[in-house]
């Protein structure tokens, strides 16, 4: 019940705001912030009461919703969703502070923000497929409104593209959900869409599994977004208001990766294993491609948006390493990306607010005019390129190590993204922050004010915290990941050692396997 409260508190806040007079902007903002902050604190309470050692769903609550179809209001939280959940409430709070200066329709803006928050939280806690789908679609609406109403000049185009693109994927997922529902009904005799139940009992035939997997894949891959489904992202990011971009990068994209972990992997472990090379290559292409394209962007937000494609490539790669290093790395990288990219968007938003442009060539030499800003930007940028000691490194390294266990070549290709990340971030940083302060308009820029500092500093603290001591974060999903791995580990599906002829999925470089292979050959010859 507590979880329900935390989840729905923001939308109650939104309803409450609707009754406030439109003119009283101060009260509106303060109320919105109060709700968001309360929600964040409550979610922290959730975290402190969370039992790290268990992989089971916690704070579970299950009552019937639509009885005749066996659809339940079933919620719960486990290690995989906990951090995302807390990050959602956290970023919502930050975003509300960051949008303090919104001029147009402030009340509606705050309402949309709070409603969005509930939508996103719902996605992470739903344990019923239909409920999940409802939340999944529901959060599109406030986001669509936020981009479409408070966005930049091409906001309508971006909003529509965002909405339709993601909805197309979700519809296929709906088909898959319905198929699964009837399949479960047929095989077990229980009409239910309960995710936990399905995870236990689903046993779809392999050829159909492939299609179901693809349907889920499309919905999540668009959301993540994986190459080549990423083109909605730059448009949406560029046009969205600052807070919208932060939420988009920080949480919405994570829903895609969360989906992979919650559905694709546990429902279809065999197919996930079969598709591993496919995903790995898509992710690697995404990593390199996102970085390369990011490098030549002229618009700051677009640059950051493309860098998201690259970063999310790492997350996907980690998930489909299908081992503990990879998935843990992917989960922490999820959080890292939310923090770093969120902070980058906030910082870009700061100069956009002041100068109303995001073109890199308009800037230069800002670090002279705005030293505090420059330092913050620098830290965030370095975290984004994965400097060890900051958060990005922990995730990236684990992901790469996970994938290295699977295939050394993949790891090498993906690691090249680390070089390219340095290229695009540093080049951008140089052009924006360094060089001479030439543009007269930039000479009047003010440094960060108190409110902006309040939004950035917590993120900076987290950057170092996760970078230096990620234990409190990583221990939350330790048990859940181990449990997941026990089900999806490739060892369950790899042909037994006797048939291991080519060993195509395994790094040919690894001496352990080499050893094993040779010893088998030896045995065979001795038998003959």
């Amino acid at each position: 019940m507590f979880l329900t409260l935390v989840t729905f508190l923001p939308i109650f806040g939104a309803l409450f705001l609707a009754f406030l007079p439109k003119e009283n902007e101060g009260a509106i903002k303060q109320t919105a912030l109060a709700f968001a902050a309360a929600d964040f604190l409550l979610s922290l309470l959730l975290w402190t009461n969370f039992d790290n050692s268990s992989h089971r769903m916690q704070f579970e609550y299950n009552i019937s919703w639509i009885e005749s179809w066996g659809i339940n209001y079933h919620i719960g939280i486990d290690g995989i969703s906990l951090l995302l959940y807390v990050m959602t409430t956290f970023l919502t709070m930050i975003c509300i502070i960051a949008s303090w200066d919104v001029k147009k329709h402030i009340r509606e803006y705050m309402m949309a923000m709070l409603a969005l928050s509930t939508g996103m939280l719902g996605v992470f806690i739903s344990l019923d497929l239909f409920m999940f789908y409802v939340f999944w679609e529901f959060q599109l609406v406030p986001m669509y409104i936020i981009v479409g109403v408070w966005g930049g000049p091409r906001r309508i185009y971006a909003a529509v593209k965002f909405f339709i693109y993601t909805a197309v994927g979700s519809l296929l997922m709906l088909v898959a959900i319905i198929w699964i529902y009837f399949h479960i009904k047929e095989t077990t005799g229980v009409a239910t869409a309960d995710i936990l139940f399905i995870t236990e009992h689903i046993n779809a035939p392999l050829d159909i599994q492939k299609w179901l997997w693809m349907a889920f894949f499309l919905a999540f891959a668009i959301k993540v977004p994986m190459f080549p489904f990423h083109t909605w992202l730059p448009d949406a990011h560029v046009e969205a208001p600052t807070a919208g971009s932060v939420i988009l990068a920080g949480v919405l994209l994570k829903m895609g990766t969360y989906g992979f972990l919650r559905f694709n992997l546990p429902f279809f472990p065999q197919t996930s294993y079969d598709f591993m090379p496919f995903i790995a290559w898509l992710s690697i292409i995404g990593i390199v491609y996102g970085a390369l394209v990011s490098m030549v962007q002229e618009d700051l937000k677009k640059l950051v948006a493309y860098s998201s494609v690259s970063h999310l490539g790492f997350v996907m790669l980690g998930i489909f390493a299908l081992n503990e290093y990879g998935i843990q790395g992917a989960l922490i990288q999820n959080i890292n990306h939310g923090i770093s990219t969120g902070a980058l968007f906030l910082l870009v938003g700061v100069i956009y607010d002041r100068r109303h442009t995001r073109l890199i060539k308009e800037f230069g030499g800002l670090s002279k005019q705005m030293p505090v800003y420059a330092v913050c930007f620098m830290i965030v940028a370095l975290s984004s390129i994965g400097l060890p000691g900051m958060n990005g490194f922990v995730g990236e390294f684990l992901v790469l190590m996970g994938i290295f266990q699977v295939n050394g070549i993949w790891a090498a290709c993906a690691t090249s993204g680390v070089i390219l990340a340095a290229c695009y971030i540093l080049w951008m940083f140089q052009r924006v922050m360094f060089l001479e302060l030439k543009n007269p308009e930039n000479m009047k820029l003010k440094d960060l004010n108190m409110r902006e500092l309040i939004t950035i500093v917590p993120l900076l603290v987290l950057i170092f915290w996760i970078g230096l001591y990620p234990k409190p974060f990583m221990s939350t999903f330790d048990a859940s990941v181990s449990h997941l791995i026990s089900k999806v580990s490739p060892d369950n599906f790899r042909p037994t050692k006797d048939h291991q002829g080519g060993g195509g999925h395994h790094a040919s470089l690894i001496s352990k396997t080499e050893l094993a292979k040779l010893s088998q050959k030896l045995q065979k010859t001795s038998h003959n």
Partner: protein
């Protein structure tokens, strides 16, 4: 227990950096300087305490590990935030904190006019802290924190004058080139984990002989990757191009980062992983070859440059080449020995050049110097001492260390390496004295408006100390009395390697795999140590050094017109002067294609192909709808027509 203080060593500079970074503007320049240098001094003193603590370790224990906290992990992977104190670490700690302290003091004087004094020292302290992490970390990843941390600080310090485009470019270049090396390093670490299931130095080094096959594929790849990482950080072929550009930073930066400490991190890393390298003879060949080639190539470029700091930069590249040459032939002691002496004399040279630049108000072109020895005597004499040291004149430190490298190159390597080394030594003596003669001797070519002056005490004192160290540093490893080689005995626990044991294991493993082990017995023959031969070599190389100096004397003091005459119109000279066009080559081969390709990728692939497909789908649906809309014309007659068409088609089909 004194060893518990270990974690304080990197902490002091970090604190200094934080204080200076946050409050530097408010507390004033003097306080900033005191905090910065003081934190380094404290760090140095703590290092001494740690050293004492280390000496008090019980017999047989050669390393102390201190785990501060558990950093991160997943599954069976686990990495600690822990420090390790062993002889190698201690040597490096002393170099970093000691030389670092001296350079910090110097920088107080050198940077005094700067507005962002505090920023400089914040970065500088941070660098020292990162460097200490690098040398003190007890596992590869902690080393990597330091490894990247120093790269990052170097980036900021090179780009310290961020309003200058060349400085920014140089910083970015340094970072990115370093990243290429880091990429390889990371892969190596992952590979190591894959094999050993751990990335702690002690575990890996201990298990290496049992888990890796001598000259096997795995160890060769690991060491090659590690070495690529080292080439990035230590500016070796093919990743050396960033170092000369890095001279855009303030001179103390060049002295500390780009001469004494950071660039030698690669050497440190190779020595740290000596067990792995010992198992990979092929990599060793590569290391030695690259080292020798870099030594000679950088020396040739150094002869043609006129920017005083660039000459020193190339000289640094060249000297690090020596260190890698030493590593490559298995003479790790020699490498570390040269690393230490190089830290002394090269720091002194850089600081001296800084003093010169400071004295003539920022001029760096040697063609606009000359005759400065009368104006700045202290600088001159210290500079001369260090130059003699680097040129290899006995009994200064450089002579001993370089000679040890060359001796091992000949004995454990082959005559080609030795030949390359000795030619590089000749060139070194030549270009270093060219530098001295052009700067301090002859006619003054200084701009008449500039009045050269000696630098303040705070700058000259460090010079004197470093010159002193450069003079006596050779005592660490006088090779003549073999049992008395201090450094060698000291490093013995780290460098101890039982080849026979490793080979035995390899044979065993190969046998298990059903392969036949090649004959390795010749590897176990002990190398003969001929003291007279060594003395002969020493004498020979001293003669070579003197020859180089004499040639420089002829060219730049006696007949200053000669160089111009000989070099004019020579395409070879132009090529060398343009650094063999490597920068341009890299630019054309890597940078431009990447940038242009990315633009193409963005404009053509992303915007047109991928987004075009998406938008195209939407548009074609729109187009269809637009035309389908014509059916809903609103004219009743049209609707009637469709009813009729439908009706008739039904009729036609059904009847």
């Amino acid at each position: 227990m004194l060893l518990k203080l270990t974690c304080l060593v990197p902490l002091f500079p970090l604190l200094g950096s934080i204080i200076n970074g946050f409050f530097g503007l408010r507390i004033g320049k003097n306080a900033v300087g005191i905090i910065a240098a003081g934190s380094m001094g404290l760090s140095f003193l703590t290092s001494i305490l740690v050293y004492v603590g280390y000496l008090m370790l019980p017999e047989g224990q050669h390393a102390y590990e201190q785990v501060v906290w558990s950093w991160f992990g997943a599954g069976d992977f686990h990495v600690d935030f822990g420090f390790q104190v062993d002889p190698l670490t201690l040597v490096m700690m002393f170099v970093v904190t000691g030389v670092g302290f001296i350079i910090h003091v110097y920088a107080i004087g050198y940077m005094h006019e700067e507005y962002s004094f505090y920023r400089f020292f914040a970065y500088f302290n941070l660098f020292a802290s990162a460097m200490l992490l690098l040398v003190m970390g007890n596992n590869f990843l902690l080393m990597f924190i330091g490894w990247e941390g120093v790269g990052c600080c170097s980036y900021f310090l090179i780009g310290y004058y961020f309003e200058k485009k060349s400085a920014c470019d140089a910083g970015t270049k340094a970072f990115i080139v370093n990243r290429v090396g880091d990429f390889a390093f990371l892969l190596a670490v992952m590979y190591i984990f894959n094999i050993f299931g751990s990335i702690d130095f002690s575990t890996v080094m201990h298990a290496a002989p049992e888990k890796l096959i001598y000259a096997g594929e795995a160890v060769t790849i690991i060491t090659l990757l590690l070495f690529v990482g080292a080439t990035g950080k230590s500016a070796q072929i093919p990743l050396y191009t960033w170092l000369p550009d890095a001279m855009e930073g303030p001179t103390p930066v060049s002295a500390l980062i780009h001469a004494a400490t950071m660039v030698t991190a690669g050497v440190y890393m190779v020595v740290r992983c000596n067990v792995l390298f010992n198992l990979a003879p092929m990599t060793m060949m590569v290391v030695a070859g690259i080292g020798a080639a870099t030594a000679i190539m950088a020396a040739t470029i150094g002869m043609t440059q006129f920017d005083i700091k660039r000459v020193l930069a190339y000289s640094t590249v060249s000297q690090i080449g020596y260190m890698f040459l030493a590593c490559g032939v298995g003479a790790y002691t020699a490498a570390i020995f040269h690393l230490v002496t190089h830290a002394f004399f090269k720091a002194c040279l850089f600081l001296g050049s800084g003093s010169v630049i400071h004295g003539i108000h920022g001029e760096q072109d040697m063609r606009k110097m000359g005759g400065l020895k009368n104006y700045m005597p202290v600088t001159y004499w210290t500079f001369l001492v260090s130059t003699l040291a680097i040129a290899g004149i006995p009994p200064l430190s450089g002579f001993f260390s370089k000679d040890e490298v060359l001796y091992h190159a000949l004995m454990d390597g082959n005559i080609i390496f030795w030949g390359m080394g000795i030619s590089a030594a000749l060139l070194t003596a030549f270009y270093m004295f060219r530098l001295v003669f052009m700067t301090f001797h002859g006619e003054s070519r200084v701009d008449p408006h500039v009045h050269p002056h000696e630098s303040p005490k705070v700058m000259t004192m460090p010079l004197v100390i470093l010159a002193g160290l450069a003079t006596v540093g050779g005592m660490l490893g006088i090779p003549l009395f073999h049992g008395w080689h201090i450094l060698h005995n000291w490093l013995e626990p780290v460098l101890h390697f039982d080849l026979a044991h490793a080979l035995e294991h390899s044979e065993h493993m190969l046998h298990e795999m059903g392969r036949h082990a090649p004959s390795w017995s010749h590897l176990l023959d002990p190398a003969e140590h001929n003291i007279w031969f060594e003395i002969f070599l020493m004498a020979f190389s001293a003669c070579v050094a003197v020859t180089g100096i004499f040639a420089a004397y002829i060219f730049y003091v006696k007949r200053p017109d000669l160089p111009g005459k000989y070099t004019k119109g020579q395409w070879g000279f132009e090529l060398v002067k343009n650094k063999y066009g490597v920068d341009e080559l890299y630019d054309a081969a890597f940078v431009q294609p990447t940038v242009e390709g990315s633009k193409l990728l963005w404009k053509e692939c992303d915007a047109k192909a991928i987004d075009g497909t998406v938008v195209g789908t939407a548009k074609s649906i729109g187009w269809l709808s637009k035309h389908a809309r014509a059916f809903q014309s609103g004219f009743v007659r049209n609707y009637a027509l469709f009813i009729a068409v439908g009706f008739i088609s039904l009729l036609l089909i059904m009847i």
